[in-house]
Symmetry: C3
Subunit: 314 residues, 3 copies
């Protein structure tokens, strides 16, 4: 249905973790783990994508994600073209497809694309030439597959491979979160069974993404005994939209404090995709505390993106 | 008069195709053709500009043209500095010359410059040091020489070398178009004799650029039997300026539809410099149809820019 | 106190010239001189930082300084990530420290940081990992150490090593100038004793930076017999802030004209950190005249930044 696999089952694009064969998922995690471990060297991988051009094509700005892909591609020896489509011809009325096909015609074969609309990245992959590969760097609220992968790599490093034994809690604005969706796809694929989702009713999704999860509004109850707390960023727009009362209320009900974290398992770990709103969804003491894996997530992000670029382009 | 040739007739800058010796023009096309053909390799040309610094200095933003030059320079092994002068010290009151001379003092020897004012790029070339070369990436309405070259390369690939036998039609806002001017310079230099120009009276130029062309307002009549249709982009500002009545009127009179294209020769080809206003100057069926060479133009753009950079900097 | 030296006295960060050991300062100048002399080659230094990632992290935009560091890093073979923090997550409420630590987690070990607040760069250096080095590219009004170094390199080239014999005049908005502060630190360290500072009372600083300088408001008097005139840029905001009456008044009292320059020594040299306000603090005839070293400063800027990057990262 999504067309990220070719007719022989090989990965051609990375658009979503939804339905990604577990063998591919595991291979990407294994390779990223290895890349993460020999990250110190650096120069030895320049041949992998030497002479290949990779474009980060962002219709919605994101300096962090773009920087992570940029560093990953450069370490593999690719030429990287940063194309800020929010500040270019698209604003002159050019369609996203024309922008994409134009850069493709320049000889770029790897695309890292972010777009604000659900499904827009898959639509571009559909019109790609045979030799072109598309990596979804986040589209709408649908998918952010490399974030899902880097979160799984981080959990594997902290908790091992036995995802079926993990109690995982995802907290916050799940409704608007592509990160949550990709995490849920990956957790299901890796065999997690105790998945809890928690947030204000207005920020919980209607769609079938929550199948197999236990869902609630009570953060304290949901935290009981969990091994993993995955916090989501709260967009301040949600207040203007009337979806939350106030930042203070949100922090009181859904902010992760040191006290609250004590309800989780003693060795529970905390993840956050960044950028953080300190004092809103997460307190300083947690973000910078011993249970936080937030910096490790960022480091793993580069390794995952290297693994994905290598898998698809090398 | 323009000083792009040195005293021994060698090309020192590329400012315009006006008066460019046909031998130089042909050499650039031949070299670009060769680069286009072995574009798959990629790495083998890194030595050509290794250790040289090229700056894309854009006083007027253009992500497409800059990306094309960027990829061309990188494939030849140059270090590329993207300098967005519309967002820099120039806005702090620095003159364009000071910005240029400052970057030159940093050791940059190749400049790719776009500027909104006629003649501004030539003025910068005039103050360049002996070892510095300037490539015009579009100035005012005067010249866009690499676009002219890539259009000629595209026509040669489609129609062969016999430009004297070609019937060529240029359509649209010729008055404000540097693309049209550079195309006209190149077509004349390569020996084309049946050159037709068509557009609303308000968008036709006063200057001597139209010498040797047949000029008219009737698109349907002008299309009769032509081998090449070169469409120009319509800037939507022209409506606010009162130069056209409405987008709908413009499309009715000057939009290239499938029906209209049937008036041209059966094997006529269609060019457009991009970005396209689909449904305004060109319909989807034409832009994406079998007679369209629009993506090929983009691919040739990189090859032409590699040839120009090599000629001037290697 | 500032923590740019490690416990064994080695330079770990470059945050300020204030208190920098004269041996380190001289070593950087010597190395930059050598790099400046063999700048023609270019490729031979690619191994120095091969495989290292350098991020230019600018919380306040500055295309010139960033370009200079970019070219310096690229010539040494580093991968360079340009991170415009004024247009990124920081505007989404992320703290500067989180932005910094995030990019550090991506594997970047060299940071070139500009920030509008005094001391912000040192604060980031304090939270850096053991293997990370921070270079101050200008913070608040406190320090711009590479500008101070490049000015000293320029003076050495023009006037030799005997700083104790030089009569140096710094003119303009010293109050708000990090350039002036870094120049003063360096001049004192190199043994200059006749340092004069001149500007309108409202633009002279209160702090102890002027210790050991002769200070006045009369430009003509201060110019008598000086060997070096260091002009500062006048920010036009100073008029809105009521710190100067008008641009015309400022030019009359503190603009460097050819006539005025005759009061200095016959072989006096003129420096300006750029970008220049021609016709305000400096006239064309001076800026482009035989006594101006302004372009040489820019060229030396790249050499100094290469020397600093090599010293700290190689």
């Amino acid at each position: 249905m999504i067309g990220q696999l070719d007719s022989s089952g090989r990965l051609r694009h990375l658009l979503t973790l939804d339905g990604l064969p577990p063998t591919v998922l595991s291979r990407l995690l294994d390779r990223a783990q290895q890349l993460h471990e020999d990250a110190q060297g650096g120069t030895a991988l320049r041949h992998v994508l030497a002479g290949k051009a990779v474009c980060t094509l962002f219709f919605e700005p994101s300096t962090r994600t773009r920087s992570s892909f940029h560093l990953a591609a450069v370490r593999l020896g690719a030429d990287v073209l940063n194309f800020d489509a929010s500040a270019s011809s698209t604003t002159k009325g050019e369609t996203a497809i024309d922008t994409f096909k134009t850069i493709e015609a320049m000889g770029v074969t790897g695309f890292v694309i972010r777009h604000q609309a659900d499904g827009a990245v898959a639509a571009l992959a559909e019109v790609a030439n045979a030799g072109t590969t598309v990596i979804n760097a986040g589209d709408g609220r649908k998918a952010h597959p490399t974030q899902g992968l880097l979160d799984m790599l981080t959990l594997r490093q902290a908790k091992g491979n036995a995802f079926e034994k993990l109690k995982v809690l995802i907290v916050g604005d799940v409704r608007h979160s592509r990160v949550a969706r990709s995490d849920l796809h990956a957790l299901h694929a890796l065999g997690a069974t105790d998945i809890r989702v928690c947030g204000p009713r207005t920020l919980l999704p209607d769609d079938d993404i929550l199948e197999g999860c236990s869902v609630g509004q009570d953060f304290d109850a949901a935290l009981q005994g969990v091994d993993v707390v995955m916090m989501l960023r709260l967009q301040r727009e949600r207040m203007q939209e009337g979806l939350i009362h106030s930042i203070d209320d949100y922090h009181r009900d859904y902010g992760l404090t040191v006290e609250r974290l004590r309800r989780a398992a003693p060795d529970a770990v905390v993840l956050h995709p960044g950028p953080m709103n300190r004092g809103v969804e997460i307190d300083d003491e947690v973000a910078d505390g011993p249970q936080s894996l937030i910096r490790l997530q960022v480091a793993n992000g580069v390794a995952i993106r290297m693994a994905v670029l290598e898998e698809l382009l090398a």
